[in-house]
């Protein structure tokens, strides 16, 4: 696992980032930062630009203005070729999984490794390790069409972590899933964070997922999820909450601050 070398410097920095389309501005000056090993949860109603923030962080789209720095690199100064190399250091879990539907689970998970011409024996070992991690080893020969929605998300997580990224971007990983499957996905995210120290940026409109990340941790000794000590206390993982509204960061804080808020919009959102 390669954690950002400079642990004092934020792993992700958005500085006054603006992005608009023909229909108008979607992001109107977003600024926030995410420290290494921190989990940042982007909350907001549908259409507030959460997915766009993730795509900007991955360099998949470029902002109209503002600066984005990820793992110490200024994405605005990078060419498309540089960005392709840079993206090999991050993992992206898409909302519906975005698995290649003509490839098997094994080929999907191994895709990036094969692109990097990794030795086939090592590919087999790492694919198996990743699929074991998401408890999907038995589906290795299946096609995505044969999997349920939750299974596809788990394979997508396996695909994102196979290259051992230091940052993982999750786009609504539990959207449209039943509560039990959602719980499985959140447990996986907790395991990835607490066992491998991954920095995460997660877009979601499900508050319960955000609170689960802030209030629980994965205990490697007990091999299960337990209630966490105070958010970020004793060097433990910290979870930040960012609420997007009308193209701006409307709220930034931790789970206590958002829960105790007197703000009418946030109160309505929390309901």
């Amino acid at each position: 696992m390669t954690i950002a070398a400079d642990t004092a410097r934020p792993a992700i920095i958005f500085d006054n980032v603006r992005l608009g389309f023909e229909e108008g501005d979607v992001l109107r000056g977003i600024s926030f930062s995410v420290a290494p090993r921190e989990t940042a949860v982007l909350l907001g109603e549908t259409g507030t630009g959460k997915t766009l923030v993730l795509k900007l962080a991955a360099g998949l789209i470029r902002p109209d203005s503002g600066r984005i720095e990820v793992l110490g690199r200024d994405l605005g100064a990078m060419t498309e070729r540089d960005l392709l190399d840079f993206r090999r250091e991050i993992g992206f879990v898409f909302q519906e999984g975005a698995l290649f539907d003509s490839l098997t689970v094994e080929e999907n998970v191994a895709f990036r490794l094969r692109e990097e011409h990794v030795d086939e024996d090592e590919i087999a070992a790492r694919v198996h390790e990743s699929l074991e991690f998401v408890e999907m080893a038995e589906a290795i020969a299946k096609l995505p069409g044969e999997l349920s929605g939750g299974m596809r998300r788990r394979v997508s997580i396996a695909r994102a972590l196979v290259s051992r990224p230091s940052i993982v971007l999750y786009d609504s990983p539990t959207a449209g899933l039943d509560p039990v499957t959602s719980q499985k996905i959140i447990t996986l995210i907790l395991r990835l964070r607490d066992l491998q120290g991954v920095t995460a940026l997660m877009a979601t409109h499900r508050l319960q997922d955000a609170f689960a990340l802030a209030n629980f941790r994965f205990d490697p000794k007990l091999c299960r999820v337990v209630r966490a000590a105070e958010n970020g206390a004793r060097g433990g993982p910290k979870t930040g909450f960012f609420v997007l509204r009308e193209g701006r960061i409307y709220f930034e804080g931790d789970q206590h601050q958002i829960r105790d808020t007197q703000d009418a919009y946030l109160a309505r959102f929390l309901e």
Binding site: F86, R88, F92
Partner: protein
């Protein structure tokens, strides 16, 4: 009733009523932008051929899908095109007592014009639509973004192998169509005009010169490039979910077919100039 249309962020928006001039302006700008984007994609697909990473496996897969997959329809159509040609011209040749020239006429028509053009139109109908729908589906299900997010250039992985494969297999398919067309022509010539094998084949083989073969086999290179790049461009530019994929597929076939006919005309002029 006004229909809602998706914008680039996927939200549904009410179309506004705008003055005609503005609509026409936007349509012209949009068309010019499409030409520009298509040209950039086409140029990049050529440039990418000469630098790594190379995707030979994808190239072979595409040659199989586009080339071998098109073979049955090319053989069937080629046979009947040759047969129809003789059927339509036999009466004229018989009137002037020049039935021996049937082989010459059919051979030249097939090799110089009908073989390349009809094969290209058939492959456009089959492959431009297939490419556009495949890539379009990948776009709407975020598979193309996933590819980019994993550090793979979709241009190199998806566009270049399809372009090279189509350019390589189309001349071969044209060769097959020409040959099968001549067999169909001979079959009808023998049945209706009573031409013997040597009478027909001696003329059919000797009529086309080297220049005619150059004309007939150089056009498919350009047609193949058009089919693949138009299909890829339309597929990668899909907006608006599954409906958008359907529109892209139709539009890819229409644009590729029209481009083949228009380009064919200018190529003929050019080739007649260089290799008369």
């Amino acid at each position: 009733m006004a229909t809602l249309t998706p914008n680039r962020t996927g939200q549904q928006v009410e179309p506004e009523s705008r003055p005609l001039k503005s609509v026409v302006n936007d349509a012209i700008k949009s068309a010019l932008l499409s030409v520009q984007d298509n040209s950039v994609l086409a140029w990049k697909s050529i440039v990418d051929v000469f630098s790594p990473p190379f995707y030979f496996r994808d190239l072979l897969d595409q040659m199989d899908v586009i080339g071998v997959g098109s073979l049955p329809i090319i053989v069937l159509t080629g046979f009947f095109i040759g047969a129809i040609l003789v059927l339509q011209t036999a009466a004229q040749f018989a009137r002037f007592g020049t039935t021996a020239l049937t082989g010459d006429a059919v051979s030249l028509a097939l090799i110089k014009e009908l073989g390349p053009t009809i094969t290209a139109l058939l492959v456009a109908g089959r492959s431009a639509s297939g490419i556009a729908s495949e890539l379009g589906s990948m776009v709407v299900t975020e598979q193309v973004d996933a590819m980019r997010a994993m550090g793979t250039d979709p241009g190199r992985k998806l566009v270049t192998p399809r372009m090279v494969a189509t350019v390589l297999v189309l001349p071969l398919l044209v060769g097959v169509a020409d040959f099968v067309g001549l067999i169909g022509a001979y079959f009808v010539a023998h049945m209706t005009l009573g031409l013997s094998g040597p009478e027909f084949w001696n003329h059919a083989i000797n009529a086309p010169g080297t220049n005619d073969l150059i004309q007939g086999l150089s056009k498919p290179l350009v047609f193949g490039f058009i089919i693949a790049t138009v299909g890829c461009f339309k597929g990668l530019k899909v907006r608006g979910g599954t409906q958008g994929v359907g529109r892209a597929t139709t539009s890819a076939v229409v644009i590729a077919s029209v481009s083949i006919l228009v380009t064919g005309f200018f190529l003929d002029k050019l080739l007649l100039w260089f290799v008369p």
